[in-house]
């Protein structure tokens, strides 16, 4: 759970969302619909996005779960570039859907580091926002992509060779 092992016994029928919020006080994933229709509950399971309202906690046994609380750099505390993108481009009004937008954006940028606006819109087509913050959210993801590219570049050594193979993390 966000980099730390957690042992707990839960009823087999309980959802991951319920257990995260109720038993582990991880409140960034939000309850929105319970049917995977809105995306507010999205978390990363071994790096892949998952709608935690339709996944039972027992199914996540042994997996690495990441939430908004665990995205910042473990040592420096610096926000994840996608989080920074959303702060800079104000990708939230009420912010209730924000968790799902950030998590989905992380998954998108892992697959496609250079998305155009159409790619971002397509990737977010199953995330609902009722405040109408679509424009700012898309801009936030585009900004996040930029920040991630800058970071990747910064990790390229001055003579132009990438140090990624030597253990640098993107």
């Amino acid at each position: 759970m966000n980099g730390r092992p957690q042992t707990l016994v839960v009823d087999a029928h309980r959802t991951l969302l319920d257990v995260l919020r109720s038993d582990l006080a991880i409140t960034s994933p939000k309850y929105g619909c319970g049917l995977a229709q809105c995306g507010s509950c999205t978390v990363l399971i071994d790096g892949a996005p998952a709608r935690s309202c339709v996944m039972r906690a027992a199914k996540a046994n042994g997996a690495a779960i990441t939430t908004l609380e665990g995205l910042a750099h473990a040592q420096t505390g610096e926000l994840h570039p996608v989080q920074r993108g959303f702060v800079e481009a104000v990708g939230a009004q009420c912010g209730y859907c924000l968790n799902g937008m950030v998590m989905t954006a992380i998954a998108l940028l892992r697959e496609n580091p250079n998305p155009d606006e159409g790619d971002v819109r397509a990737a977010l087509r199953h995330n609902l926002c009722r405040c109408g913050t679509h424009k700012e959210i898309v801009a936030s993801v585009m900004r996040a992509a930029e920040l991630m590219r800058e970071e990747a570049q910064a990790q390229t050594s001055p003579d132009g060779t990438s140090s990624a193979g030597e253990g640098a993390s993107a």
Partner: protein, 1150 residues
Amino acid sequence: MSGDYGRILVFRDEAGPREVFLSFDTSGVAIGFNGHVDLGTGIETALSQIVAEELDLPLDRVRMVLGDTEKTPNQGPTIASETIQITAVPLRHASAQIRRELAIRGARRLNAPAARVTLEDGEVRWKDTHVPYESLIAGEEIALRLDTETPVKNPKDYKIVGQSAARVDLPAKVTGRYPYVHDVFVEGMLHGHVIRPPYAGRDSGAFIGKSLVSFDEAAVGHMPGFVAVVHRGDFLGVVAERADQAEAIAEALPVEWLMPPDLPDMTSIADTVRSQPATPRNCDSTGDFARGIGECDVRLTRSYVWPYHMHGSIGPSCSIADWNAGEPIVWSGTQNPHMLRADLANLMQIDETLIDIRRYQAAGCYGRNCADDVCGDALLLSQAVGRPVRVQLTRTQEHLWEPKGAAQVMDVEGGLLGGRFHAYSMDSWYPSNRGPNLALLLTGRITPEPRPSDMGDRTIIPPYAIPHKAITVHDMAPIVRAAWMRGVSALPNTFAHECFVDELAFAAGRDPVAFRLDHIDDPRTAHLIRECAERGGWEERSEPRKRREGRMAYGQGFAFATYVHGAFPGTAAAASAWVCDVAVDMETGEVSLTRVFVAQDQGLVINPDGVRHQIHGNVNQTASRVLKEELSFDEIAVTPKSWATYPLQTFPEAPAIETMLVERSGDPALGVGESAAVPAAAAIANAIFDATGVRMREAPFTPEKMRAALGISASRPALVGPVAKTGWRDRLGGKGLSKRFGLAALLGGSLTAGALALPIHRAIPPAAAPQASSFSSDILARGREVFAAGNCADCHTVKGGAANAGGLAMETPFGTIYTSNITPDPKTGLGEWSFAAFDRAMRKGVSRDGTSLYPAFPYTSFAKMSGDDMFALYAFLQTLEPVEQETPKAAMAVPFNLRPLNAVWKAVYHDETQLAPDAEKSPAWNRGRYLVQATGHCSACHSPRNALGAEKGGAAALSGAPVKGWYAPAIAGEKAASFGWSEESFYQYLRTGVAGDLAAAAGPMAEVVSNLRELPDSDIRAMATYLASMQTGQAEALPVNAAAAVASPDDPATEAPPLDGVHRLFESACAVCHEPAIGGLATAAQVPLSRSPAVRSQNDEALRTVIREGIEAPLNLKTRDMPGFGKELTEAQIDALARYVRARYGAAAP
């Protein structure tokens, strides 16, 4: 600097107890108190800017407390975009008051003339000396009475106001640390779950609060976590230790309700609204309309219809209440803390000052949702159990019960005289009130008679100079529960005004913008219209241009409005104007809003970025309402229970938005919360007219309505037409009764003829089975594997019942039979069965007492088992936990209820010989065949059966069949081969439940694979080897994604389904997992729908089952869960969805 604590504050006390607006203390931080709340719009940031500006304090040293009833002034509900325009005014004066006091004190400290000191960054400065504010109040408590005459800064000196400021709440929100009301944890809290009456979404009529007949608490008292069932009138709720327990108890609680009377006809909403009791109220009777309209040379009569909408907060409402021995604390996401406090005081019959409402942000609400209702729920439950109780409404409860944005009907008549707008009348019906708190209604604390309100008059006066007007609002009570929603009645009223004036412009042969300007007297408004048209790229025209490119038609529209809020005649908030572009697909009727340009005049701008974001939000949300949203009803209630049946705008549909803020820093700040929403419907409708020449006067402008208006016939009638339901019964028993009687006659004949030739089975006397301990561990281990391979537990256990004690109902074409108790219980199980009796039953289908077993028990397969396996299984069964449980009697249709008939059946179909190994084949192949044919009895599900219920052999063996409402697909023969099975994929599937994206086990098969976990790898490999050898014919490449298959419009079999309700239902409920937008979604379906057995089945039954019940994946497999939709969708919707999915994906299914 002195270290003593000190504070300066500004208060008022005319209205009773002291209310503080602003305080600043020696910590150096100013805290502003405002009775309005932040609904997610960033108002907290804007208010902070106002305080920082007037106080000359850095923005990061200002905090706001919004809405807590103990701390903030009562400034009414946060509605009508009033916060900046009205409630921020005293805050600004309070800031100026403290600043003035600090300036005087600072000057004294610095020995400077008071008029000459400057204040900056929290310091008073004079020449090169300075003193921080904090040190000027140390050790003192200074209280200033609010003086609204205090001079405030000249806006031209603003340094903080007018500059974009970062949202103060965002860093905490993006790291998950921002405490929404949903995230509040109160020590010792329990969890409540409410059970609402069947009159979902209604709040008037004699039945309200009087429909609960009975409930049976005893039936749920034993459930885990149970604390209490609480009821008062029609209020019913349960309390439990955990939220999931409360929900389970609420679902299990038997409740009887009276059914409410029908709603009026909600399908013809305009007639229904007009026919309700209403009181006309004249708002404008300039000139003489009757005379004026008579003088007109062009006269038009039009009606505009607005649907019911949902506020649609993304987070269903939540609250925690602590009764606290009569001094309640309520943690709430309310929009109206003080109004809520009064409601709760009424509910509990206590003085309102005893109640402390602690306001937290919730999901955006855009008006009145269930945020207050849920506080009443939580408080009633907390009072009953004497502990804090948290209530989280479900998505369904929020959908059904939130007070809706009301429908509205506008009947308009008007005309031109000599090309001028000469006369105009409007009658506007708005069936809404202020949504009384639900707990007050359900408990009967307030009476449920219809209560009219007066909110239908917002922006009801058209902005144009018209000599003769008759403007009437019809005040009326709600039909279903309703309250204000963004734009309130101004949005529909403007829909009518601005569409009508557009129509008149063309009738006058004028450009619509020019025509508007001809009739605008106010220069500020004219300036806004002109700026918007110019900067927004308005293209002049005097008739609709109907630009076409291929199937797409393109158009541009204009509309504007000044949002007028508050009691009539009201107060003007910001004025907004739209230029927008649409593209209309002339084949499907789909309207895309491609670009919106908004110009807005809001006077002084506090936070420019904040204003722009608010405009974007208004545009997107209202575009969704205008193009997609419409509440549906059945005979008695509101119906949408999830987003599936109330879809919202998605990201790809969102328009490009450009904004222009008119520069007016010298004018007072006007509210911007809703203004940009108000022109939306008219601007879009006017753009559609420009594109197509068709006037849309009834929102939303869905593809169905567009096709009707454009005269386009719907495609693919086959998809929506009646589809014959076929199932087991029809397939096996023939179509209809006559054939079944025919079969019965045939069987009857056989019975008569062969009766005497039948072998008569003797009973085998009861004999205590050997003790489990008498078997070797090797035998027991082998028995465990046979038990698992045979999937015995699954059919012999009722869900939630005792393991292996039988009683599971098996629906067959011939009636219902029940599986038997296979535990070693002596009375009701196998405890007194000798091995001989067991072996006979397994091989011959004869029970110990000599009666024949129905062939649903797959003894035809078990007969092929080896003697060793049979004995090992017998031994293992003796180790099961004995359970005393009688097997229910079978309920069979005549003549199948005659067990002797089974004997006839066996004589015809049963082959009792054990499997002999095929020496030509490998040991693995032979082992696989044995497991598949004998122990595993795969054919019991995967082989179709003949009319008498016998498995078909030959080419039909394992060629696929329906089972338990699911579909067991072909696993042998050409059908299986064309699907692409290989030895490796069979192995993966049987071992893990998942074979790449080829297949994933679900339903009964998931249980089978789960049980196969007991088998060694070599057995799984052997089955894969055997099954792979059973594939004849060449495997062909599969279509990966059926979406590709629907792209060709020429082939009727693969034509795209029409863009109607069921398509939207699929897109909003199913596509997230079945057409995922993002790769690697860990909760997405593992195989494409085109490969789903349910889609490949011969009929819809399996698909309906899986939609209704979902999939609960065994925990030891890699397969995934799917939620069931049986509670959210009606049977008709499930039928339609199943047909849609099979039409869209079935064509591609192998």
